[in-house]
């Protein structure tokens, strides 16, 4: 099956892999902020990935995978020219974009890549873009040059202060708004839920600056049937797959999302790793070496 062929794979920073896959149909239709659902093999989970980039001409899509569990490990073990079992997309609503004025884009971990397509679109619409990239350490920052091309200002922030500011995205935001008195019209964040909830808290307290977050939830079908991706938004139940994935961060019940929804299956997730074995590459290497020796 060569339908969803992996064209390029690289580990751009530790534990984070960039995948370029050939899916012409998705590349033709996708809009910034939409995602795809991927199955690595017949028995894998279905995992949503926000697309970072795509090329309509070549028919390729680009996304970032952070290794966190069984299926993402399987993805990390893939090699170029391997194929995925299935890719469904584009799913979800496109990101809410407009000519806002000054827009702050915040990205952390896998969100650094995911926010890239939104940045491009916002730039096209004539916004003044400030990008804040967060990581634990400078070795975790990537996509620097790409962001510089599309933003008016790029700010780095690391937990240990090894590059740029020391702290977190919300520290930088707070400083920008409170100390420097800058006017920010719109904020978009993509990253882990914990980071987004913190940013949401800060922007709410600083005068309700419109903040949009792209939530990461467990997903199965991606068309609103299974209800795995449910979250409480403004007191109502919403499905991240069809109503999102981008939501007004101030209206999301973050405690429920982080504390209950995303930790529901930790037991199954951990136990599934008990009998996981990727193909033994050592053996493959030994066999290759033996063949080589024989041919000599």
């Amino acid at each position: 099956m060569s339908k969803f062929k992996l064209l390029k794979k690289e580990e751009c920073v530790p534990n984070l892999h960039k995948f370029v896959v050939s899916v012409p149909d998705i590349a033709r239709k996708v809009e910034p902020g939409q995602f795809v659902l991927i199955m690595v093999d017949e028995k894998s989970e279905r995992i949503p990935f926000t697309l970072a980039d795509w090329d309509e001409k070549d028919g390729t899509i680009t996304f970032f995978v952070q290794e966190v569990g069984l299926s993402t490990t399987k993805m990390a073990f893939m090699e170029e020219k391997d194929s995925f079992y299935s890719i469904v997309g584009p799913l979800g609503e496109p990101a809410y974009v407009d000519n806002f004025g000054t827009v702050v884009l915040g990205g952390g971990c896998f969100g650094l890549g995911a926010i890239y397509s939104v940045a491009k679109k916002l730039k096209d619409l004539g916004n003044n873009i400030i990008t804040i990239l967060e990581a634990k350490n400078e070795s975790r920052l990537y996509y620097e040059d790409e962001f510089r091309a599309f933003s008016d200002e790029v700010i780095f922030v690391t937990s240990d202060g090894s590059k740029g500011e020391k702290g977190h995205i919300y520290d930088v935001l707070e400083e920008m708004i409170v100390s420097q008195g800058r006017k920010i019209d719109h904020i978009k964040v993509i990253g882990c839920n914990v980071m987004m909830s913190k940013v949401s808290d800060v922007t709410k307290s600083l005068g309700n600056i419109p903040t949009y977050a792209t939530v990461s939830t467990i997903m199965v079908d991606g068309t609103g049937m299974c209800g795995c991706c449910r979250l409480t938004y403004d007191g109502k139940t919403k499905f991240a797959c069809v109503d999102g994935p981008e939501f007004d961060a101030h209206k999301i019940n973050w405690d429920e999302l982080i504390g209950i929804r995303n930790t529901s299956y930790i037991r199954e997730e951990s136990l599934s790793l008990q009998n996981f074995s990727p193909q033994c590459r050592s053996l493959a290497k030994i066999l290759a070496k033996m063949n080589e020796e024989e041919s000599i």
Binding site: P14, V68, T72, R140, T158, I266, L283, K285, M290
Partner: protein, 536 residues
Amino acid sequence: MTKWMNINGKRVVFEEGETILEVATKAGIYIPTLCARPDLPSIGACRLCIVDVEGSRTYPNSCTLPAREGMVVRTATPDLQKVRRNIFQLILAEHPSYCLVCKEQNECAKLRHGEYKAGRVIGCYTCSHKELCEIRKISDYLRIKEIRYPILYKNLPLERDDPFLVRDYNLCILCARCIRACQDVLGYSAIALTKRGHDTKVGTILEVSHLESGCVFCGHCIDVCPTGALIARGSTWFGSPDKSVETTCLLCSHGCQMVVDVKWDKVVNVHPPYEMSARREYCVKGRFCIPALLNGRNRLEYPTIKRKVLREEHYPVSWDEAIKYTAEELKKFKPEEIGFLVSPFLTDEAIFLFNKLAKEISSNNVVYDEEGLNDLITRRIKVLFSTYNSELIAKIDSLEFLVVQDIYQHPNYEKANVILPTTAFTEEDGTKTGEEFMKNVIKKIVEPPGIALPSWSIICKVAQAMGFKGYIYESLDELQDTIAESDSLEVPLIPKQSFEYMGTPISEKVNEFDLFLNAKRIINESKGKGMQDVKI
């Protein structure tokens, strides 16, 4: 003559040859260390255990300094702690320790619990070893709030090409505990410090894979590692266990004592007790295969009886029904037509009861292995009570009634009239005679799947239903008392090289063990040893 020395103003007694660290630990005085361990020879690698010795120009390592009569030692003067903090920060600079100085630390631990279960470790929040990490303990002790040096990530690739082991040497602090356990204590020398200077790294000689380097996959390197650099692929990532219970491994008669970690009422990890971590040699079966072997997806949960409704199929029934049916059918046959195939993996109690029952129905057809089963086949038995999965079972033509008792469903059991689910050795209490007549304790650690029962209680039920007296035991203790009073029991031994449990091949349930065996066989062949069997 007792010898005395002075540590922190306290007079302590010591014996000739003890190091300051040992004397202090015995006296209850804490000296931080990352490389010393009671069961390993000291090399003084981390230099955190420095002490202030009166009359000495420098701060010597307490782990390598022998105690002398009348020595005056202080372990935590302000100067010492300052130096220690500095040394420790240098260690942290080469370890992904950003989380130790992150202000979100506590919140993160609460919110991000269990989120990350794979890949390279990029901070404490993604580390599987977090709860046991010795670096974090010492960081707390030294109250590290910031790291003065830039943190350098070595960016080494994750080494996970071998079965069972995942090695992330970005976390390694070069304490050489793994090397000392492998080389000095166990004598395998599968790993060593390779390269020099800043590039120094734990690895195999000539960078060959662990499969070729002479590694026996005993997992002791994992047990002694103070960081999360070495982990077992399958049995990690569960956070802190709900409970840890010491029991005996029953995969062979060696009788290794092991600690079983339990989380969510499942066996998640098996490791040696701390004090034996580097002393006792574990085999790859016991160290790595037990969780996957016992938590397989198709464990038998309910007794089933073969019945013809639309076509002949196995239908789940209650225990009472299954036992009644078995007993009634057994009574229809002559004693010499009934055979018992007893698995050597059963507990002593079960084996005793099997023998007792056989004696009472005056059948002397109790066999323990395939050789014995062949013997039974030649005697043309009509009934077989089997607790052991053997290919031969399906081939017995004379069989009219087959009862099997097992933990897994097998294709061989198509023919069985009754299938009884039993417990694995982590799910029942009991004793097991091992090598050298050692009686080992087996403990119930997790609940059995479904309504599976221990073997001894199944046999009691069958015997009672058949109308025999004396099979009512209120508790296991009562049964054990009976065994103690009766003649000594001959229990068949399980060789270390048996790669099965109750007739279930380990490689069938544990994928990585299959990989291990295949790889070892190919390596043996390539070295001209032929297809000889893999030794573990």
